[in-house]
């Protein structure tokens, strides 16, 4: 009873979060509505509802709602994987660009993690529990954390303004497809790095299982993808497609949950297989797409409700190091990459700062691999790091697109400036 009512509460809030920003976004409650629709707002509401706040959603309910979180990750992963259709990507960026984006994502992630290394080694790695009782040993645990931070730091997303007018106007922005490809490359790198984390074994999973944990997501992802591709290759109606997609997502989530595998990764592999093996993959995406945003909002609420701060001081320090390191790394690699493809490095760097909800999904997925002793502290640090990067990224992205809009005469500079300030404030 309580569980289902909590579920209704979460779904209703996610629904409101989905509707309000667009309904009130242009009215006098603009600021409140945008705040509610943004990640921070929903996470804050989640915290208020969770055990740290009003305790309307307690630990017992949270454990019941875990499948919802896993389902969201599977949904997001499948949709992400479905983008990588060779036929569609054909006229996309040349191979040189793909290589550069992958290098940029990997490099910036590694450099950021290198910045955080003193924290990892000095503070977190110093925990006696890991040295003495760690089931997989000290080095794999530290290595796993290094790779997790790399995966998160490399990840970037394209920022969609919450202002409908700006969103519409920037559809013709020449840099838009470029940043989309860059973000897709970065996100793929993040998932590949997450996969590498599996090589170190889970903190509770025992040593020596690395290759098994690496091969299982691949096998399951390919098998599930092939199954869905096979079933949706026939001429089927909308209802059948929805059933196949839902069944596939649930099966993938269930298996990944049962085996403690990274759901996002398994479902992304499945998505890539479907995109390239099934002629009906685009229609499958159409069926899955409408539920993506509401599910994301549910995920943000659940992040808030299940948040435990850990050690604040350490978390804040690590978050700041992560953010500063990431900004420097992104601009550094933008300088290397930009000069090779004829783009202004500052433009490229500004456009790659935003992390978005995909990074949060990676964070949730990687939480399987965090050692219980410092999982809360690291999760808090990375969450704060992502939110700080998002604030910086949103502001820089809006400035960048605003400059172009002003140069095209689509928006007066004053109005542009106001929008930038508002976006930055949020």
């Amino acid at each position: 009873m309580r569980i289902l009512l909590s579920l209704i509460l979460i779904l209703a809030l996610a629904f409101l979060g989905h509707r309000w920003p667009s309904q009130l976004g242009e009215g006098p409650h603009k600021r409140i509505a945008r705040f509610f629709g943004q990640g921070v707002g929903l996470i804050a509401i989640g915290i208020a509802l969770g055990p740290l706040g009003l305790n309307l959603i307690d630990q017992e309910i949270l454990s019941v709602l875990t499948p919802l979180k896993v389902l969201t990750l599977a949904w997001v992963g499948l949709l992400f994987g479905l983008q990588f259709d060779r036929a569609v990507m054909g006229p996309g960026p040349p191979k040189r660009l793909i290589g550069l984006f992958l290098l940029e994502g990997l490099g910036s992630g590694w450099v950021t993690a290198l910045f955080c290394l003193p924290w990892i080694m000095g503070v977190i790695g110093g925990g006696d529990g890991i040295r003495e009782n760690g089931s997989v040993g000290w080095l794999p645990v530290i290595g796993g954390l290094y790779f997790t931070i790399s995966a998160l730091a490399g990840c970037s997303s394209y920022y969609e303004s919450s202002d409908a007018e700006i969103r519409r106007a920037t559809r013709k922005w020449p840099l838009r497809p470029f940043f989309h490809y860059a973000a897709a490359g970065d996100q793929l790198v993040a998932l590949l790095l997450l996969w590498a984390v599996a090589a170190f074994g889970t903190p509770t999973g025992g040593a020596g299982g690395g290759w098994v944990w690496i091969s299982l997501p691949l096998f399951l992802g390919v098998a599930a993808g092939f199954l869905i591709a096979l079933l949706s290759s026939r001429r089927v109606g909308r209802q059948d497609r929805l059933t196949i997609a839902m069944g596939g997502v649930l099966l993938v989530s269930g298996v990944a949950m049962n085996m403690n595998l990274p759901v996002l990764l398994v479902s992304t592999i499945a998505g890539i297989v479907i995109a390239n093996a099934s002629p009906g993959s685009s229609k499958l995406s159409e069926e899955l797409l409408p539920a993506e945003r509401p599910l994301f909002l549910v995920m943000l609420l659940l992040i808030g409700t299940s948040w435990r701060p850990g050690q604040w001081g350490i978390a804040l320090g690590l978050a700041l190091t992560y953010t500063v390191g990431r900004v420097l790394a992104k601009f550094g690699f933008a300088w290397i990459t930009g000069s090779r493809i004829g783009h202004r490095p500052s433009e490229l760097g500004m456009g790659l700062l935003f992390q978005g909800a995909f990074a949060l999904a990676v964070l949730i997925d990687s939480s399987w691999f965090l050692h219980p002793e410092w999982a809360d502290t690291v999760s808090t640090a990375l969450l704060l790091g992502i939110l700080m990067s998002d604030a910086l990224g949103a502001a820089s992205f809006t400035r960048l697109s605003g400059q172009w809009l002003a140069s095209e005469g689509m928006m007066p500079p004053d109005e542009n400036a106001t929008s930038i300030q508002e976006e930055a404030a949020l």
Partner: protein, 465 residues
Amino acid sequence: MNPRWVKNAHWFGLIFIVGFMSFYSETETFSQQSPRAQAVLGFGFLLLSGYLMGELTRRVKLPALTGYLGAGILFGPQLGGLISGDQMIVELTRIDELALTFIALTVGGELHLKELRRRAWGIVANVSFLLLITIPGITLGLGWVCQGPMGATGMRSMEIWMMAALLGVLSIGPSPATAIALMRETRAKGPFTELVLGVTVCLDVLVVILFAIALSLAGSLLDPETGLNALFLLGLAIELGVSLVLGGIAGYALGKNVDRLHGELAVVILIFCVFISQAAHALSGMVETQLGVHFQLEPVLICMAAGMVIQNATSSGPRFMEEMERISIPIYIVFFAILGVRIDLHALMDTWPIALGFVALRLFLLWVSGRVGGRISKEPASACNWLGSSLVTQAGVSVGLSLLIGVRFPGWGSAPVTLALAVIGLNQVVGPILLKLALDRSGETVRRSGVGEKLEAIRKLNQEA
């Protein structure tokens, strides 16, 4: 992808997921997981296997529902064991409740008052004859069999007659969920379909009322000190009335807002169903604690009333039903597959001779009632012949009511419960097949009216192209 693979995709898919589940459910990792994690996997497995079985049964001209049910029976705890464990089934049952309210909303939405008013006489006549012929027929037949040839040991004569009467009342309870799912699947539309739906819904409400009366009567006859509880009947009337009124209000509120919702309508409908089901339980509990009287609001009835109001009292009926249809298949699959999981095969094995006789007698009596009622209400000959066959399906409500016999009469109640579960299990399997046949024969399904063949031909041409 290889066309041969695509052609046999259902077989490959089914073999793959069943093989995988068989292998995985035997591993240590699976047995160590929480029931919740197992339930997510079970849910996904049931959805896909049910869908694939449904497609396979459709190929042999059987309803897809039979395939969904078949998946539940085949892979459930009593046969395949791929969906097993009490906790896992409890977790899956949570989804079942949501599905039931969703289906009730659909049933309500399919009730067009204008059409029903036109068919009112037909519905009343048929329902009356079904009550007048089927209930006494089953009571007498079952009573006679249990008294004589297949004597029920350890039961007094009065208890046997009471058991027969209760099962007689129970035998008129059809399954609106099955009816609506099959009508959607076959896209049946026309006077016969409306008649079947109208009669089914009327019987579904009547069986609850009549069963409550029969239960109370049986109690007072077997134990004269108890007496007939008039307050109990009044309470029942209030419960039904309040459920209908609340459903009407909720339906009106939702119907007025349907046009404001765009992509989110499906999510809102699902939230609405969960909310109604939980609010009904919460309100019932609150009344019981505050007033100290038994009070049970019926979520299914509330949703049925809500659907009917949305369809008939607001302008958003068509859009609402379109959205319901879009998301209905996964819900039907899960509902019927879980129903299959819960079919009591042991009860069927224990009582199969008498259960088979019961099913045959019920079928005959339904056929006779349909013919008499149809003749009197001047229905076409095909409707007279096939109305009885279209009312064979039984499901959730009948199971719930039959379990009440065991609760009310702990001494001898277990025998009728076992028999009822066996009969309902058989009717669940036979009913959809007969209903599809009836709808096909009435010429109101898409396939029969010729559109189906045309669609099939276009599909084949496309495939060849």
